[in-house]
Amino acid sequence: MNRLMIWYGELISQKKLIKRGALFLTPGMLWLVIFLVLPGLILILISFAGRGSYGELVWEFSLDNYKRLMGYGVFGWTPDYIVILLRSVWVTLITTGISVVLSYPLCFFIAGKPKRTRYVWLMVVIVPFWTNMVIRTYSWFLILAPELPFAKLAAYFKLISPGMALYPSAFAVYLGMISIFLPFVALPLFSSIERLDWTLVEAAQDLYASNIRIFMQAILPQTLPGLSVGIILTFVPAMGMFVVPDLLGGAKYMLVGNLIQQQFGASRDWAFGAAISMGLMVLTLFSLYLYRRKNKDMELL
């Protein structure tokens, strides 16, 4: 331990070096362990506890919360919770997919601008990225209001009854989710598209590749690093989203985020809330794992 070593130009004993390193690490790591790692572990622990009649925790090991999440309740089996969990995955996949499809043309468009004005066009993506989620969600209230042409058009085609707004509805949830997460995909994707080597695309064109083939084999592989970051930045928060379904979906289109929020708010059932959180975490990490296995050499941030 007391071995002398040369560490970047300094002759120092290993013990001293480790001590100094710990000095830098400790405050931040201590904070993260106390307020991030330990609370996470406690959350896992209490997902196996029970709920007393006043909403307090009852410390006896049981799998009841997980059974309830799987639908086994007092009144027999219902698929309600499973439906909400699967719906969250579905909404997240659709949101991510449409965001990716819309991001490519947007990024190509911005990357095609001359260097001087490109940065101004990029602001178009950056500003919504940083604008508060609550504002960007409720602003759809206005667009979907019954007085405006969109709702009138829907009423004309008998999709909704006249005089009704287009929210709360599943449709409004998708609109809200995509508008929130599109910049999360577009921004990292742009950094890849800006560096795209167009000579490869030209080569593919010279060899009469179809447009689909050009995209799949000349463009997609080059943009994969940015795309992966974008997909993860979208997928993770979208799985736990509760502002959008709360404001735009109402009780009609609940997602797992709303379910968790209910347990920690009105219902005051922390143990069950913890179990749902575990379900959400497993689903999220499993999806990331699947994605990562397909794209081995991706890097986070």
Binding site: V127, T131, I135, L300
Partner: protein, 266 residues
Amino acid sequence: MRKIKLMMNVMAFGTMAFLYLPLIAVAFFSVNNTKYGLAWKGFTLDWYIQLFHNEMILQIAWNTLVLAVVSTLVSTVLGTALAIGMDRFPWPGKMNTLLDLILHLPVIIPDIILAAALVVAFGFLRQISSVFEPGLTSMIIGHITFQTAFVALVVRSRLVSIGKDVEEAARDLYATTPYLLRRVTLPLLTPGIIAGAMLAFTLSLDDFVISFFTAGPESVTLPLYIFAAVRRVVTPQIHALSTLILFVTILLVIAMERFTRKAKVK
């Protein structure tokens, strides 16, 4: 090929309209001279003026600012030290992996789970000290937690990109650790630290979920206020408030871009 290009441009403009239509609508109705309905009744700035005479909203804006400034200051210090500690010492590989994993937790776990874990942890800690009652302090603690991880990630990438050569040269010339930090490492690192701090600040202003779970009745912030208000009824005053926040966001974004571009040129 020209056809494809045209189609792409149409799609790009459609997407931009999709992103901005709701925001433009909010700004538009914030200067509409009517309390109810969406019919245009003439231009007014009344809603903005009322906003500045509303004691409660000023207090809420102040809460938001205090939360963002305090949590940014603490997390910048913690995150910077953490980044230096991780990158500049010969830790064994396994320990590096573990530290790396902890740092990435806020990225790979949905924020609602982080918030839920904090609610539970504060519930237990409350038995030790009343500091952990729902309120501004517990919100600040919550914000620092996820900000620290992001600051550390940003600063660490800067540490990697500036390399160790200059530090090694300073050591060769017998620089002590405090001298090295003050004269070499921190000055080289400043752009990274400021970028990290700005990221932390915007993350705090933007956050809804962590605040929503840890806030008390006295510590409402602007996003929480807007959320509670629009669940009841949407008023032109809320539009005015949102438009102002939008403008502040745009200013922050411009400042942030200006800064990172300057840092790159250097």
